[in-house]
Each structure stands twice: as C-alpha cells, then as structure tokens.
C-alpha cells in the first residue's frame, strides 16, 4: 500500500529568494504547502539593546542599518523623536530637504523591490532595469552625503549640510516616468506575469488589519491608511494615497508603481520649495550634552515597508533607558503563516516576494 507522507522543507536561511536570511519551515504535500513557520533572527544585531549603552549622537549613525534600503526613514524617526522631546521645531527648508530625500529613498527602495520581485518570478531584465534607475538615485545620494546606503545625513535639529545638486534631482524625476512606462510595458500586461500574480496571495482587509499589516500591502487591500496624510513633516505637500482594491500580488505590484509616481510629485514640490526658500538655518541641539527629559517618547512614519515607529523611555540620562523599534516587514513575515498555507511552492515564493520583506529590518 502506498501511503502519502508529507515533506518537511527548510526554505532558507541560505536561499536565493528569501531576500536575506529568512528561514521558512514548510510542510509540503508534493508542492502544496500545508503549514508554514517563519523563523527570524539570523540577522539580529541587537539594535535596541545597543542603544542603551550609547549616547543619542553615537546611536544616530547606526540606525540607517536597520533598513539598508531606506535608511533615511529611521534616522528621520530618531531625529524627530529627539527634536520633539527637546521641543524644537525644524525650519521650513529643513523640512523640504527631508521630504525630498525621504521620497527619493522611498523610490530607490520600491525600485529594488520591483527588480527583486520579478527576479523571484524568474524574469531577468526588470531587475537590471530597476537597478539602473536606482543607481541614479544612489549616485545622487553619494554625491550629496558621501554614502550610497547609510547616509547619516539627518541630524538632531536639521541636516548635516545644506542640500546641493538640485539639478540632479530634477533630472532623475524627469527621466523616471519614462522608465516606469517601460517597466509597465514589459511587466504589467505580460500574460505570464498576470497569471503568476492575479488572484494570488489574496490579503483580505480584515486579515491585514488583524495581522497589523501597514503600508503599501495594506493599501493594496483597499484600506486607506497613509501616515503621510497626517504627518507634520509632509504639511503643505499635496499627494493622493494609492489605494487599490485588488488585494492580490498584482495589486501590491501596481500600488508600488503608482506610489513611485506619487513620490515623484512630492519630490517635485520639495524641489520647488527648496528653490523658493534658500534660507538655510538649523535649530542646533548640542549633541554632546544631549539629555532627553525623563519620560516616554513615541513617533511614527510611513516607511516604504509600512508603519515604522520608535519608542524611547528616558530617565533623564544621556542614554535611553529603553528603546524599541517597530518595523513593517516584521508583521509581513508573520503574515506568511497564513498567506502561504494551501499555495504551491512557486506561488509561495511569489507571494512572499510581493510582501516586500527585508530581513535586516525584521531582525533589527
């Protein structure tokens, strides 16, 4: 008598498409997934514990490493919290600089996701195309900050130095829409791509909310929740949050493409503001004797992979008593438990890819 047995498969931590070191414990029946147990922590660097032994200015350069694809967002979070605690309001020009750079960073992050997602699906070229466009942005960051990924550009009360090379940004936002059209030609209506993504990995809004999914993944499920709408930093900037009803992998792809277009609009406004307002002044906070008043501080921001937030408990020392990060991908990994069950292995890879999971951000 033939008895069917299930196969236990360790997908990762060394696997080409787990985007780092995610380990998925899968139970397979043939290629059908019966259960999925994500195992994280292979890239744990102790970002939270580390903060307890460092002064704020010592800690600032390390926070870019939380998410190496969107470092700006995390330094913005830390700066914002410290500024809030010290009661400092950043000037208009600094605000415009920060929004411009954050959105550029968001575009770079989304572009890499598009490439990596298509790579997961087995398409080769879009990865290189996306990398080519991302390279323009990284070159600009390198020119401005001297670093391609870990910028350490935002400081408490301002930025490290005034923004330069605005014409480079204008060039980037002039080229990008054409390139996006190229992507859409080669990807969006591709029959195989549609077959692999339409109706795959359907994420119901209630499930998404129960699993604390935020960001593009949530908006692609039809829930309008974009922190930028209520964010003080984005005050005076016009944009419409991308909300799609598709709920599937395709919607998540399309939402990211549309979000890049929205980001381009934001950058345009940012550049215009920078051109009008050339008065560069910083609200200096002396980092050497910076002590946060006793209390608890919390701030949040719309990062490319969902809501990112920071919680600091200070006892009035120059070091935080306790610091906690909340990152979007961590919750997406947890969602895999539910989303992958019942799917076939190669769809599972596509679904996991569509959620935009970045492991350093999960493990912190």
């Amino acid at each position: 008598m033939i008895t069917a047995t299930t196969l236990k498969l360790n997908l990762g931590p060394q696997h080409p498409s787990t985007h780092g070191v995610l380990r998925l414990l899968l139970e397979l029946d043939g290629e059908k997934i019966l259960s999925c147990e994500p195992d994280v922590g292979y890239l744990h660097r102790g970002m939270e514990k580390m903060a307890e032994g460092m002064t704020y200015i010592q800690y600032l350069p390390t926070v870019d490493r939380i998410d190496y694809l969107a470092g700006c967002f995390y330094s913005e979070l830390l700066c914002r919290t410290v500024e809030g605690a010290m009661g400092v309001n950043i000037p208009e020009r600094i605000r415009a600089i920060r929004v411009t750079l954050l959105e550029l960073n968001r575009i770079a992050s989304h572009l890499l996701w598009i490439g990596a997602f298509l790579m997961d699906l087995g398409a080769l070229s879009p990865f290189f195309y996306a990398m080519r466009e991302r390279e323009m942005i990284l070159r600009y960051f390198e020119k401005l900050t001297g670093q391609r990924m870990m910028y350490n550009y935002f400081v408490f009360g301002g930025v490290r130095k005034d923004i330069e090379y605005l014409e480079d940004i204008e060039e980037i936002i002039k080229i990008l829409p054409y390139k996006l059209n190229d992507y859409e030609k080669i990807i969006t209506d591709n029959l195989i791509f549609l077959q692999r993504t339409k109706g795959k990995g359907v994420l119901e809004p209630t499930t998404a909310l129960n699993y604390s999914i935020t960001g593009v993944n949530l908006r692609a499920s039809g829930v309008e929740y974009d922190l930028r709408k209520t964010d003080k930093l984005y005050e005076g900037f016009e944009f419409t949050p991308v909300v799609l009803e598709g709920k599937d992998s395709w919607a998540r792809y399309k939402a990211r493409i549309l979000e890049i277009k929205e980001s381009i609009k934001l950058i345009e406004q940012g550049v215009n503001k920078l051109k009008e307002n050339t008065n560069f002044e910083q609200k200096h906070i002396n980092p050497l004797n910076l002590k946060l008043p006793e209390g608890e501080y919390y701030s949040e921001i719309e990062a490319p992979r969902g809501l990112a937030s920071i919680y600091i408990k200070s006892t009035g020392e120059d070091k935080p008593y306790r610091l906690k990060w909340r990152t979007g991908s961590y919750y997406s990994v947890n969602l895999l438990r539910k989303l992958l069950v019942g799917e076939y292995l190669n769809d599972a890879i596509a679904i996991a890819g569509s959620l935009d999971i970045i492991l350093p951000e999960v493990d912190k």
Binding site: H15, S17, G122, L124, F128, I192, F193, Q195
Partner: protein, 369 residues
C-alpha cells in the same frame, strides 16, 4: 565531394603516401573537424548567451578574460575542472556519479545524426527523425537520476518537475514532427530538407504551411531544454538550482555543457524541420555566384550548406535567449495545463492541416525528391 577527394589524393601522392591511407583518412578527418567544431560551438554558445543577456539587460557581459571575453568559458571550464568534486554524504554514490556521464552521451550522439550538409551526416539512418526524438528525451533520465541520487529535497522536486514537464511536452512535439513527416513524405532529416527545396528559396520552407506547428515546436523545445519561461526544474528562485543543486566541479560542468549542446542540437532540429535546414534562403547557393559553375564551387557548396544551417540555428538560439531575458517563469501547474489544454489540441489540429495541405498539393510540396 569527388573534387575534394581528388584534390586530397593528389596532395597525398606528392608526399608518396599510399592510397589506402588517403581512402581511410578522407572520411575520418571531416568527422574530427566537425567534432572539434561542435565542442567549440558549444563553448562559444555559453559566451554568446552571456554576452547577449548582458546586452539585453544593459550590462557588458564577460569582457575581462581574453579579448572581448572570448576566453571566459574556457577559464570557467578550467576552474570547474580543478574544483573538488563533492559527493553528498548520504547520496546514492553510484547513481550520483553516473548521472552526469549519462547526460553527456546522448547529447553528443544527437549531434551525430544531424545532416550538416547534403552529403555529410555522421550516421544517416532512414528514420533518424525518430532516433533524434528518442535521444533527445534521454537527458531527462539523468536529470531524474541526479536529482534522486543527490538526497536533497530541492533536487528531488526539481527532478519531479522535470519528469512532469518532459512527459507533457514530448507529446505535442511528436505530433508536430508527424505533421512535418507527412508534408515531406520522409522520416529522414536529409529527406525533409530536400522536400523544402524550391526555386523561390525560403518560400518552400515548412514554417509557412505548418506555421502553427513551428510555433508549438518552438514553445515545446523551450520546455524540453528547461529554458525560460519553462525553467522549472532548475528554477533558481524556488529550488536553488533544482536537480543539480548538489553537483559541483566537473560533474556540474558536464550538466552545464550538455545543456548547451542540447540547445544547439534542438536549434538545428528546428531549422531542419521548418527553416529548410542547410538550404540557402535564396534558392541557389551563393558559391555558384562567387565561383561560377566550377568544381571549386560545387565543393564550396558543402561548406556553405553547413554555414546556412549554423546561421539558422544561431537565429533560433538568439530568439530563445531573447525570451529568457524578457519573460518571467510559468507556475508549475499552469505549465502542465498549457501543454495538455492548448498545445496538444493545437498540434493535432496542425497535423490535420498538414494532411489536408498534402492532399491538396499532392507531391508538389516535396520539391525535388
């Protein structure tokens, strides 16, 4: 051929070498030349694919080893040669070692039954189309053996996918080949090539009366070669490297090279069935234009025929590489459904169409034969 034979004999007699030696070597030398040429072509194919993929994806491709990167493949092959051959601990060691050898033999044999020019085939049997189909299905055996013997779950899944894929795509191929056989009234590749001869050159090729078959054949060959968008058995983002995950060193190189040899063989097979094989696309051979109606021209025709066949094969390979650079991979169940639900009925329809065309035109499609 006679002219070349006389030239060769005269040249030998100048050195006083007996005629018997000439009689033997005259038939062996071309075999050696072609065997070496094929190995070079296979090595070159790897480079060509990497270069083309580079250009299609906005990169330069290999450009460091040798001028224009020409020595890259040789350097890679050498590197693989001197690497350690790792055999997994709990694998079936005999089968694990056997699989890469088994994959290479049928692939090299396949190259022997292809007519490179009208009088040059290593082994010319009357039904070598069927022989080809059998030999070309062989590598899946070693894919399965290798995948199963590796004792690796990814390899096993890759092997299982490979079997399912080949089983479903061999069937439409057979029907398409049958329709070509009907049109040509021949099961011999040389005969099929002759049947496509016409004074109008390319217009006589079977890709026109049998266009559906041509497209189906192209798709099925992609599946049979495990190439994008059907590269499921070795889907990198899912199964790491599929059936050859555990292979390293020379064993991996054998899998790798046989894949490219098979690609070249299949491209030539498509060219023979649908693109007129070694026939010139202009109706007459260019050699007659260049050298006039001389002995030299009739000798040069054989080389020209091989040139046309290789050119067509490379065009087919170019399209295959182009597809690889563009399309994502199919899902495994869509893949099987695509074959059984669309390709198989279409290929049967194509066979009916071929029979009707044959019935209407009588022997007219057969050209000279």
């Amino acid at each position: 051929m006679n002219y070349l034979y006389h030239l060769y004999m005269e040249w030998l007699s100048k050195f006083g070498i007996p005629e018997l030696f000439g009689n033997i070597t005259f038939y062996i030398i071309p075999f050696c030349i072609v065997a070496i040429a094929l190995l070079i072509v296979v090595l070159a194919l790897v480079l060509i694919e990497r270069k083309l993929l580079g250009w299609l994806t906005q990169r330069k491709g290999p450009n460091r080893v040798g001028f224009w990167g020409v020595l890259q493949t040789i350097a890679d092959a050498f590197k693989l040669l001197i690497k350690e051959n790792i055999t997994p601990d709990r694998s079936d060691k005999f089968l694990f070692n056997l699989a890469p050898i088994l994959v290479f033999i049928p692939v090299m044999t396949v190259l022997g039954i292809i007519p490179y020019s009208s009088e040059f085939t290593f082994v010319n049997t009357s039904t070598n189309v069927i022989l080809y189909l059998i030999l070309v299905a062989f590598p899946i055996l070693s894919i399965f053996l290798g995948g199963w013997a590796s004792n690796n779950k990814y390899s096993l899944m890759g092997a299982a996918r490979g079997i399912a894929q080949i089983l479903s795509y061999e069937v439409p191929i057979t029907f398409v080949v049958l329709s070509v056989i009907v049109l040509a009234s021949s099961m011999n590749m040389t005969g099929i090539t002759y049947a496509q001869y016409s004074r109008l050159g390319a217009l006589g090729w079977f890709c026109f009366p049998c266009f559906i078959g041509f497209v189906i054949m192209f798709i099925c060959v992609l599946a049979e070669l495990n190439r994008c968008p059907f590269d499921l058995p070795e889907a990198e983002s899912e199964l790491i490297c599929g059936y050859n995950t555990e292979y390293s060193g020379m064993r991996f190189a054998l899998f790798y090279l046989s894949e490219y040899a098979l690609l070249f063989a299949n491209a030539m097979f498509i060219s023979i069935l649908f693109l007129g094989g070694y026939l010139s696309p202009f109706g007459t051979y260019l050699s007659y234009f260049i050298f006039g109606d001389t002995h030299l021209a009739s000798a040069m025709v054989y080389f020209e025929q091989a040139f046309w066949l290789f050119l067509k094969a490379f065009l087919v390979i170019f399209v295959i590489i182009w597809i690889r650079a563009t399309l994502p991979r199919l899902a495994s169940f869509d893949l099987l459904k695509f074959s059984w639900a669309y390709l198989l009925p279409l290929s049967i329809f194509n066979l009916f169409l071929a029979v009707i065309i044959k019935f209407i035109t009588g022997g007219a499609m057969c050209g000279l034969s």
